[in-house]
């Protein structure tokens, strides 16, 4: 590796955008610091709660013999779900040639990185013997869906991290060259991560080629990931999980919740980092229209997942569905189906809603929270409806509500996820500068969706 500083990091770069985006790296507002401190605090609380769990065993959770999987596994599925936004952006939008994607691709792919990190941690937090985790490698059985999960998630994590990293190389090289006042560790980090990028033609061609390959690879991997996560449940004989559509149903939910998550992130970054010129209503409009379509697909799978067995009402199924439709879990079930699916679907159908960032953030929040609660609704009621009746169960065994430790650990994981995401934006440009610049130069500001006042890039 050679570390000679060169000025031509990319053939063309929009200097105005560059300085606007770099502000978020060089300067952190008081609010921003407070935000990071808050996340750190919740994260540490989560770690302490996990320490308590390690010491005393899983008795500190509300899980018992009937509900042997609870909040942790629900959150695992949720994290896997929103991680799909990276594949949506990198593959689907790239393959369909949506030029407006550039200013938001990195935000999306960073969500994938951060959420997969915590998706991978959730099942470990759920383990009774985390000290034996290496047995998965020394005694692993490929016939077990858990091994499929490990392989699929690890592949997706490596793949999506490569895909996040590749287009970052030219931008990191720029940071290496321009951030002269950065601390020593930062400089070292940028120097190592920019792998001697000088922006030569050969390097550019190579990068383009790698990115093309990753586009083709990442989509099937992403679909595989959520399918095998669904199979974790679907490969059992349990009522409610024993369903042939569970795989595609989970994939549809994943892409929908991922798109909603990135819409929220876009609004937050736009405001916090003053990126109004680069993340515009155009991006919100386009992506919320896509979200509408994704929500429709998800509604279609919901109809299949609940409607089809509800028509037949097979004995065990009917007990489970009655619990969801009219029983103890009905308030939660209907709240999720109405607020997390029906209301967003109706709202997103209106152009006026899709033209308002405020409304879009509201609808997206409904969808993300709905997705989170839905995972809970998928995991817990099924565990409470085994084939043999629950009788004479000791106190606390016949019902489930997460304990304080479970809430703290889960909140800690959520805070950790947002923290990693925030710190990412403090280390690297949250908008891919060279790609956006190139796109503005080639297609014009309007097509890329940035403010038309953003001048054409200057060649250096």
């Amino acid at each position: 590796m050679h570390f000679k500083t060169e000025n031509n990091t990319a053939a063309s770069i929009n200097l105005e955008m560059e300085s606007d985006v770099l502000k978020s790296i060089t300067y952190t507002s008081a609010k921003g610091k407070l935000w990071i401190a808050l996340l750190l605090l919740i994260f540490i609380a989560g770690i302490i709660a996990y320490g308590i769990q390690l010491k005393n065993g899983l008795i500190v959770t509300s899980m018992r013999n009937y509900v042997s999987w609870g909040l942790y596994i629900s959150m695992f599925i949720f994290f896997i779900g929103i991680s799909h936004v990276g594949a949506l952006m990198s593959s689907i939008l790239r393959l369909t040639g949506a030029e407006w994607r550039f200013p938001i691709t990195r935000m999306a792919e960073a969500i994938t990185f951060s959420s997969l990190l915590f998706a991978g941690i959730m099942p470990i937090l759920d383990m009774g013997r985390p000290d034996r985790i290496l047995f998965l490698f020394t005694h692993g059985r490929i016939q077990s869906p858990i091994l499929w999960d490990i392989i699929a998630i690890a592949t997706y994590f490596v793949g999506s991290t490569i895909y996040l990293y590749l287009p970052m190389i030219p931008d990191i090289a720029m940071l290496r060259d321009k951030l002269n006042h950065a601390s020593r560790w930062r400089k070292k980090l940028y120097r190592i991560l920019s792998v001697g990028w000088k922006g030569t033609e050969v390097q550019k061609q190579l990068l383009e080629k790698c990115m093309n390959i990753m586009t083709a690879i990442i989509l099937p991997v992403a679909i595989t990931v959520h399918t095998v996560v669904a199979w974790l449940l679907a490969m059992t004989l349990r009522t409610g999980w024993n369903s042939t559509v569970l795989g595609p149903y989970f994939v549809s939910a994943a892409i929908m919740s991922g798109a909603a998550a990135v819409l929220i992130a876009m609004a937050v970054f736009r405001k916090a980092y003053h990126l109004e010129k680069y993340i515009t209503i155009v991006h919100f409009k386009n992506l919320s229209l896509l979200l509408f379509v994704l929500t429709l697909i998800y509604a279609y799978f919901n109809l299949n997942e609940y409607g089809v067995p509800a028509y037949k009402m097979e004995r065990a199924e009917s007990e489970y569905l009655n619990e969801l439709f009219y029983g103890a879990h009905a308030p939660l079930y209907w709240s999720v189906q109405i607020l997390g699916l029906l209301v967003p679907l109706i709202l997103l159908a209106f152009k006026r809603i899709r033209n308002s960032i405020g409304w879009i953030v509201f609808v997206s929040s409904l969808i993300v929270i709905g997705a989170m609660v839905k995972r809970y609704i998928i995991v817990i009621p099924t565990m409470l409806h085994p084939f043999v009746p629950i009788q004479n169960a000791p106190i606390g065994y016949g019902s489930y509500f997460p304990s304080v430790v479970e809430w703290l650990v889960t909140l800690g994981a959520l805070a950790g996820f947002i923290l990693v995401y925030t710190l990412f934006s403090k280390l690297f440009p949250i908008i891919t500068l060279w790609e956006t610049s190139d796109a503005i130069k080639d297609k014009g500001a309007e097509i890329v969706g940035v403010d038309s006042r953003v001048s054409s890039p200057v060649s250096i």
Binding site: N56, G57, L58, I59, T61, M63, R64, N65, Y66, S68, W69, P123, D126, M127, G128, R129, P130, R132, I133, F135, L136, H139, G140, R141, Q143, S144, P145, I146, L147, L232, L233, M235, T236, L237, R238, M383, P386, F387, V388, P389, I390, Q391, N392, P394, Y397
Partner: protein
């Protein structure tokens, strides 16, 4: 008169089968145990039943005598007891729901109240159908959904039909608990209370099998079968409702030592397996609760 004959025949069969089981078991496990090899003929004949149910007489000196089974390794207990195919039959007509099987099991395995390897449930399949008590051990399925999903081979099917758990291997993911359609498995949510006397065996065939963060369940008392004793629930059942035996020998025995020909019993009494439609092929058969000898459960009292 006829009854008397019947009785004497039965007790004779009982004696024969028990010895037979012992002899066959000991003969094949000889390699694992501290066994006295078959010595010189003593001239004393011992009656035995062969696998076809025929009476044969064998010289006492030809029967190897086992004295010690502490030498069973973990690998050997993973394979199971050679030549055996354990099976259980539960006569619902005899079960009065007293729960003594659970008590005996919990005592045998040092289990606290909230753990039940064998549960006695009160069942009624439809409002007009007869309610009945339903003792539910692990079914030791021949196509077990639990071992299928285990990521580390900590739970597995042995050659003798037993589905066993290796608590030194279990990572506590609880996938097997999610996969078991019969809610048989229990988890050690906290540090289990260890009994004062724990047998230190290298084998997983032992009475106390609890470890924090690991899954456990009924193991058909494999450590008892190793020494030709019946499982705790069988010997604990005052109603003689639970039979245990070897499918290869085609014989099952209950607490009183009544030994029945398995195939005949299953046929004559229209035995069934619980939720056959799930395709798990349980090794536990139920005899329907017809001509019951006890008051039926009051379903209004059943706690759910």
């Amino acid at each position: 008169m006829q009854e008397e004959e019947e009785n004497s025949r039965r007790s004779f069969l009982k004696a024969g089968l028990i010895t037979g089981a012992a002899a066959i078991a000991a003969g094949v496990i000889g390699c694992n145990s501290d066994t006295k090899p078959p010595g010189s003929l003593t001239g004393k004949k011992v009656p035995l039943l062969d696998s076809a149910g025929n009476l044969i007489y064998v010289d006492e000196g030809q029967i190897p005598v086992h004295t010690n089974f502490k030498g069973i390794t973990n690998e050997e207990s993973r394979k199971g007891i050679p030549g055996k195919k354990f099976v259980m039959v539960i006569d619902l007509a005899k079960c009065d729901g007293c729960g003594k099987c659970t008590e005996a099991c919990n005592k045998m395995h040092f289990l606290p109240k909230e753990k039940e390897w064998i549960q006695v449930l009160e069942m009624q399949d439809a409002p007009k159908e007869a309610p009945y008590f339903f003792p539910k051990p692990c079914f030791h399925c021949d196509d077990p959904p639990c071992t299928k999903v285990c990521p580390v081979d900590a739970t597995f099917k042995r050659e003798d039909g037993i589905v066993s758990v290796d608590i030194d291997r279990c990572i506590g993911c609880r996938f097997c608990m999610a996969a078991c359609p019969y809610s048989v498995r229990v988890f050690n949510w906290t540090e289990p209370v260890k009994p004062d006397i724990i047998e230190e065996t290298p084998s997983m065939e032992r009475a106390f099998q609890s470890k924090k963060g690991c899954v456990e369940k009924c193991d058909f008392c494999s450590h008892m079968s190793r020494v030709d004793e019946l499982p705790a629930c069988v010997t604990g059942c005052p109603m003689d409702a639970i039979y245990f035996g070897d499918e290869n020998e085609d014989a099952v025995t209950n607490k009183s030592g009544q030994t029945e020909k398995l195939s005949q019993m299953l046929e004559d009494r229209a035995a069934y397996r619980f939720m056959e439609e799930l395709g798990t092929k349980p090794r536990v058969y139920y005899l329907p609760p017809v001509n019951r000898l006890y008051p039926k459960p009051n379903m209004n009292d059943a706690k759910s």
